[in-house]
Amino acid sequence: MFGSTIRFWAKGWIDSLFIQPDNFFHYYGFEWVKPLGEIGMYAVFVLLIISSIFIAFGLFYRWASVTYFILFTYVELIDITNYLNHYYFISLVALLMCFLPAHRLFSVDVWRRPSIGLNKVPNWTIASIKFQLGLVYFFAGIAKLNYDWLFNAMPMSIWLQAKTHWPIIGDLFAEKWIAYSFSWMGCIFDLTIVFFLLTRRFRAIAYLALVIFHVLTGIMFPIGMFPWIMILATLIFFSDDFHQKLLLFLSSLFKDRIKPLKEDNYVVLHGFKKKLLTAFLLSCMFFQMVFPFRYLLYPGQLFWTEQGYRFSWRVMLMEKAGTAFFYVTNPQTGKRGEVDNSQFLTATQEKMMATQPDLILQYAHIIKQEVELRGLKDPIINAEVYVTLNGSRSKLFIDPKVNLAELEDGLIHKDWILDF
């Protein structure tokens, strides 16, 4: 987390994502989340960095983890075009960590107040993290169970095509069977890995496979920190023996300061607190297991309409690109003009908007607002959007005749999306 935040800063993304854009795309229901301006945003990131350091060293853990969760989630909610599954994952884990006693051993908190030291924790604490990790893999696997992925090796073929220049192995990437095996292996890996990790017997080999998988995807695709985070996070599946040894090794680095706890020490929650926590965790789990299936409530093809696509661990699943031409018509004169998207959006925002219907609609409303600000009331706003999905023919994506300025975003089906 510390690494991620530093990386985010170093790449200049604070400026390019939160300060430069004139307009922001909101999450449905979170329209009230606004960026804080230059100083504010940098302050937020300084706090994120400090709290992530505090979490790692176990200093003022409770405060740090709550701060981290709130700020990280806030940053993500500012602009939906920055949405990534692994940011959602970090938010969820950060939420869980607010409740975990992760500072009760080998931490500065314990060094300060040895009485809070624990060497045993209830099973739910570790299980909740395991559950969260397993869910990510399993749902990513389920998402791959679709016709294009399995039987057309799409979009894997397109991605591999672009890597055929790699020496030695490059030629292989042009082979159709390689694309098929990558697709199938990826799918089987995602579906089964968590179960292998749970068994003592296959754990080591499963972990080895996992490291290879993530390193490979990390090199091949622009997915940032995600593979490295997963490689580390899945260590939690290993036995406490393994972690004790690791701790022992680490503590040898500070051996004067840390005294091992003599007797077993643990906490158990009772009564209302326990009920509340159980209810909270169970509802979290239930929500996450059901939410990804909400797409079933919408007609049309999920990858095309993207209704119910986000927050469902659909990672690296499709190759979609779009070009969007927006037109504003003056209702009085009938005068029509094409919008210069770069006057309102950054290149990234434009790219993300052009393939996602809810964002197309939001953008139309941004245009409407800007135009009305400049004195043209009730503009008619149409969009001609061409989208290609997994190498298919670029098609008209939404009805170019519909006046987007009159539509409101909502959770009901958007009937102005044309069929795939």
Partner: protein, 366 residues
């Protein structure tokens, strides 16, 4: 739960390792043949050409004789040559040309020219051409105005005033200084450009692709849609305005547009300034066996053909754009439609195959 603490601690350690993430897969840069051809046979010779055309313009200006109409005509011809060769370098607005001290696009060709500002500068005689407020009062469009805005006899009278010639000289010095700087910087930037790996924001692949797209979109919007009344400004639909065409006074709008398209076409095909065909984007798309999603078949061919169609659409006009907008708007609209058709070929298809991230951030495929 102590484990979790440990895990977080280990994250630190491995993040340290993560920074040296394994990339030893290849030593040779994937696009180095393309970059080498673009740098050595396209960028460098084109800048050299522009530089020498500016020098020739300087010579004509220095020997200008306001009593001799042939002197004016040769100055005008030299101007036209320089304006045409500018079109071949406008796309390279990255690296040296994008440095704040250069910013060639803004400094050399901000049109339409701000006429009252030019006249005011000349009259007052006290101006700083480095100020962004003077972008529209200098560069090639200032020449366009001062050398063409009325008939040659009247121009000769005007240009007999030394302040006007001095202003032209200052505008020219300003451009030459910037172009010289860019040409010199390319000496060392060449290695950076050719050796660039990957496709992130600052990679050569991304810079070249994005400027290629941007230059094309500028032709479509600023050179055609804005004067023709097909565009909007901040969403407000604009009426046709023939005063905002490029080269308003020398009436070279279509020639310049064609030169600009040809410049992009040659980068696409990899054709050098000497006319030799090397590795271009075309060859890369061929290697990938890229398929077009906009029209049927091969993407490399589809884009090649669309360039031909766009240039053919321009060549049918016999007058300049300002005239055609007034008298032949439907053909202008048709030309604009052909330009429009190219955009998804570049934005959807070429981008997918070159895997250029317009994104400045990580993607996870959605």
């Amino acid at each position: 739960m102590k484990r979790f603490t440990q895990i977080v601690v280990i994250i630190f350690i491995v993040l340290g390792l993560g920074s040296c993430r394994p990339d030893g897969v290849d030593d040779k840069v994937e696009y180095s043949d393309l970059f080498e051809n673009v740098a050595d046979n396209i960028v460098v010779p084109r800048y050299a050409q522009f530089q020498s055309d500016l020098s020739a313009l300087e010579a004509s200006l220095n020997t200008f004789d306001a009593s001799d109409v042939s002197s004016l005509i040769s100055l005008q011809e030299q101007f036209k040559a320089a304006y045409l060769s500018w079109q071949s370098v406008s796309v390279f607005e990255f690296g040296p040309a994008a440095e704040y001290s250069a910013l060639l696009r803004a400094n050399c060709n901000s049109f339409p020219a701000n006429i009252s500002r030019i006249e005011e500068n000349i009259e007052v005689g006290d101006y700083n051409l480095d100020f962004p407020s003077n972008y529209e009062a200098k560069g090639i469009p200032a020449f366009d105005y001062l050398l063409f805005h009325t008939n040659n006899n009247d121009l000769l009278v005007e240009l007999s005033e030394s302040s006007r010639i001095a202003y032209l000289q200052d505008c020219l010095d300003d451009m030459q200084a910037r172009v010289d700087e860019v040409v010199n910087a390319w000496d060392s930037y060449r290695a950076v450009f050719v050796g660039s790996e990957g496709d992130d924001q600052n990679s050569s692949l991304s810079l070249l692709f994005n400027q290629f797209l941007y230059d094309f979109e500028r032709i479509k919007r600023e050179k055609l849609a804005l004067p023709a009344g097909f565009a909007s400004n901040y969403g407000i639909p604009l009426d046709a305005d023939t005063s905002v065409v490029e080269a308003r006074f020398s009436k070279m709008s279509f020639q310049l547009m064609d030169a600009n398209l040809a410049s992009l076409e040659n980068i696409y095909l990899g054709i050098g300034n000497d006319g030799l065909d090397g590795v271009g984007i075309f060859e890369k798309l061929k290697e990938y066996n890229a398929q077009s999603t906009v029209v049927d078949g091969d993407l490399a061919i589809a884009i090649q053909e669309q360039f031909v169609i766009c240039r053919a659409a321009i060549s049918q006009f016999t007058n300049d754009l300002a005239f055609e907008i007034v008298h032949n708007i439907s053909e202008v609209q048709e030309t604009s439609n052909q330009f429009q058709k190219m955009v998804p070929m570049i934005k959807n298809d070429m981008r997918s195959y070159l895997s250029v991230t317009v994104t400045l951030t990580d993607a996870d495929g959605d």
